[in-house]
């Protein structure tokens, strides 16, 4: 299950010494993260090779294609060798705006991204991240500036979710970040959210009984 990405051991709740891919753009929309032609899939996997497809390649991609023979856009940050193997993407404000497609989160994860740090996120995308165990962290513009500087120097950072801090290579705190309890536990514990909600079956049924009396047309 996707939500278990972070593992079961508390020690695994830190991303150790990882470099960051700096995507220096505002309003990165989900149409860019994964273009529409790839949404035709009925699976949750296999989107990684088409992450940022139209920025990443010099041609127009299509589903089922052999991506290894396509010409890469050398100017796009994902194709810069020095960021190869990174698990952290940093970007600017309103990341993930536009379409509700959860495929955007699946594509980032399938590519190997475990954490996105940005100045702000669009609501639906932010929600979708935590449903899949992708950590999304919003930080101030000033903190983001520091991170961009570090990423250009290809310096590693540590992300400690338990203590909600991002540390530099010398283990000094760059920024403390906010995250609500529920979303944090979703990632840390990889919760089966539906199972959790079904524990409230009696409450839902009780609600329905009174709602049926009040608004019977909704139940017809």
């Amino acid at each position: 299950m996707l939500g278990k990405l972070w593992g079961k051991n508390m020690n695994e709740y830190t991303i150790h010494s990882k470099k960051m891919i700096p995507l220096d753009r505002s309003n990165v929309d989900t149409d860019q993260i994964i273009p529409k032609q790839f949404l035709k899939s009925i699976k949750k996997t296999g989107f990684g090779p088409n992450l940022f497809d139209s920025w990443r390649y010099l041609d127009s991609g299509f589903p089922g294609q052999d991506n290894s023979s396509r010409k890469l856009n050398p100017e796009f940050i994902l194709n810069n060798k020095k960021y190869e193997g990174s698990e952290i993407l940093i970007s600017k404000e309103n990341f993930g705006c536009g379409s509700s497609r959860e495929h955007a989160v699946w594509a980032l994860q399938d590519y190997g991204i475990r954490c996105v740090i940005a100045e702000s996120f669009a609501d639906i995308f932010y929600n979708n991240c935590f449903k899949n165990g992708l950590l999304a962290i919003a930080v101030s513009r000033d903190s983001l500036k520091k991170l961009f500087l570090l990423s250009e120097r290809v310096e590693n950072i540590h992300i400690d979710l338990v203590n909600q801090v991002i540390l530099d290579k010398n283990e000094s705190v760059i920024v403390k970040f906010e995250i609500d309890t529920f979303r944090k536990s979703c990632i840390l514990e990889g919760l089966d959210e539906i199972g959790l909600s079904l524990k409230y079956t009696e409450n839902i049924k009780h609600y329905e009984i009174s709602s049926k009396k009040l608004t019977p047309w909704i139940f017809e």
Binding site: S60, S100, D180, P216
Partner: protein, 464 residues
């Protein structure tokens, strides 16, 4: 304590607040389409779960389906991957007992056009769909939100959404717009003013004289683009306009249920002194026809102004992508294609406005293509009955079968590289309508006027 419309809708649907602070919010209607649902149904199967209340879900295919050869039914879908997605929806609806208006059903159409048209979505309801433009249904005085696929599965299985309450924002649009200025121009004007993240974390209530004087179809156009300002939900208070719209729809309540419903719906308005965390005021009488010049719905200008000096690297990139230069006038943008359609502007009133301008004229010879895609089979039928199809066809437009079509180009309706398109849709993102395509978001009237000239014109000079 005085409450906003959003507060009231929320209170009506709160099942329980959980220990972690989140709420379970009861969902009355769940709309399903082929793109964001297959993984959710698969999730149910894998975990051995089923739907909580099958009748609350209604489905129709819209994103993938072609707008030609509809008489062939499923065989009209030549793209195998698209066809599999549509037949997967058929199979899932059968397996889970969900009512579907399938590709052969005359009621099929864009999910956000079909819901209100059928009375499936009603005032006072909570409505969700795996599509960000679900905010459209808020026009009926409902709480309607786009959700992701995990949430689709969650709603199917539990009839609830795990939710955190949003803040309240009021967008008050006073004054009345000039002739030639439409609901689309108003909603674009709001986004231009507050930005694409201006309402992130808020539920928007649109109010004021301009909104009150609008039809439900116009209000849907406004609420549709709430998400383009960052708000998951946009809504308008219930009034007589809503009542008259909802009355007699196939799935609307009738008899004593109707009387009961109306008496409850009358409370679907914000109390006099309700608190809003943010208030935006706009004077509709000052608004002009809007046109987007860039690759974000906030990059919008008045029809009589010029392409601005870029103020950020995003704007410079956008200018470059769009092949435009600072100082150009909208009239200087040579158009290649015209698209009238999408969940924003594909309803009967939209088609009437466009047809009125087109009537007796021919589209520019410089255009490659101009298409009209009605929002549903029933919109199409009503338009044909009025002879609108003939007006469009005689002018040189192609009259297509219903679906999302070129709004996002998941079907064969796409722009070619470099094409400029006057589009009545909602997003001008890079590549949205086709690889390297260039989208200009406009009202149906502005799109129609542009079709005649092959470039943008001030539609106020035609209808004013």
């Amino acid at each position: 304590m005085p409450r906003t419309l959003y507060d009231k809708l929320w209170d009506l649907h709160e099942v329980i607040q959980r220990e972690d602070g989140t709420y379970l919010l009861y969902i009355d209607r769940h709309l399903v389409h082929e793109v964001t649902s297959p993984q959710a149904f698969e999730g149910l199967r894998l975990s051995g779960r089923t739907t909580w209340r099958a009748s609350s879900n209604k489905a129709t295919p819209d994103h993938n389906i072609p707008t030609t050869d509809r008489e062939l039914g499923i065989d009209g879908i030549t793209d195998e991957v698209s066809r599999l997605q549509v037949t997967t929806l058929d199979d899932n609806c059968k397996e889970f007992g969900i009512e579907q208006f399938d590709i052969t059903d005359q009621r099929q159409g864009i999910v956000h056009v079909v819901g209100p048209e059928q009375g499936i979505t009603l005032p006072g309801m909570t409505i969700v769909c795996g599509d960000s433009h679900t905010s459209t249904h808020g026009a009926l005085g409902a709480l309607a939100m786009g959700i992701g696929t995990s949430e689709v599965e969650h709603v199917l299985a539990t009839q609830c959404l795990v939710a955190i309450k949003q803040k309240n924002m009021k967008v008050e649009i006073n004054g009345l717009p000039d002739k030639g200025v439409y609901a689309k121009d108003l909603t674009l004007g709001v986004i231009a003013k507050i930005g694409t993240a201006g309402a992130t974390g808020f539920a928007i209530e649109y109010s004021g004289e301009a909104i009150k004087s609008m039809s439900i179809e116009e209000r849907m156009t406004v609420c549709n683009m709430a998400i383009e300002a960052g708000a998951r939900a946009g809504m308008v208070a219930f009034d007589d306009v809503t009542l008259n719209y909802v009355k007699g729809k196939p799935y609307s309540p009738s008899g004593t249920d109707w009387d009961k419903a109306v008496s409850q719906w009358k409370d679907l308005r914000s109390d006099e002194s309700a608190h809003f965390d943010k208030v935006i005021e706009i004077d509709a009488s000052e608004l002009k026809p809007q046109i987007s010049w860039g690759t974000s719905p906030e990059m919008v200008i008045d029809i009589d102004s010029t392409i601005p000096e870029p103020k950020s690297s995003s704007e410079s990139r956008a200018l470059d992508y769009m092949g435009l230069k600072t100082g150009m006038r909208p009239q200087d943008i040579k158009l290649d294609q015209i698209f009238i359609g999408s969940c924003t502007n594909s309803r009967l009133e939209d088609l009437r406005v466009a047809a009125e301008i087109i009537k007796g004229n021919k589209i520019s010879k410089d255009l490659k293509r101009a298409i009209v895609v009605p929002g549903s089979g029933l919109v199409s039928k009503a338009a044909v009955k009025e002879g609108l199809d003939k007006i469009f066809i005689e002018a040189g437009f192609e009259w297509r079968a219903p679906g999302c079509s070129m709004c996002l180009g998941m079907n064969p309706d796409q722009l070619d590289e470099g094409d400029h398109c006057a589009s009545t849709s909602n997003r001008n993102f890079e590549g949205r309508q086709g690889y390297k395509g260039r989208t200009h978001l406009v009202s149906p009237a502005t799109a129609a006027a542009a079709a005649l000239e092959g470039h943008f014109v001030d539609v106020r000079e035609i209808v004013g």
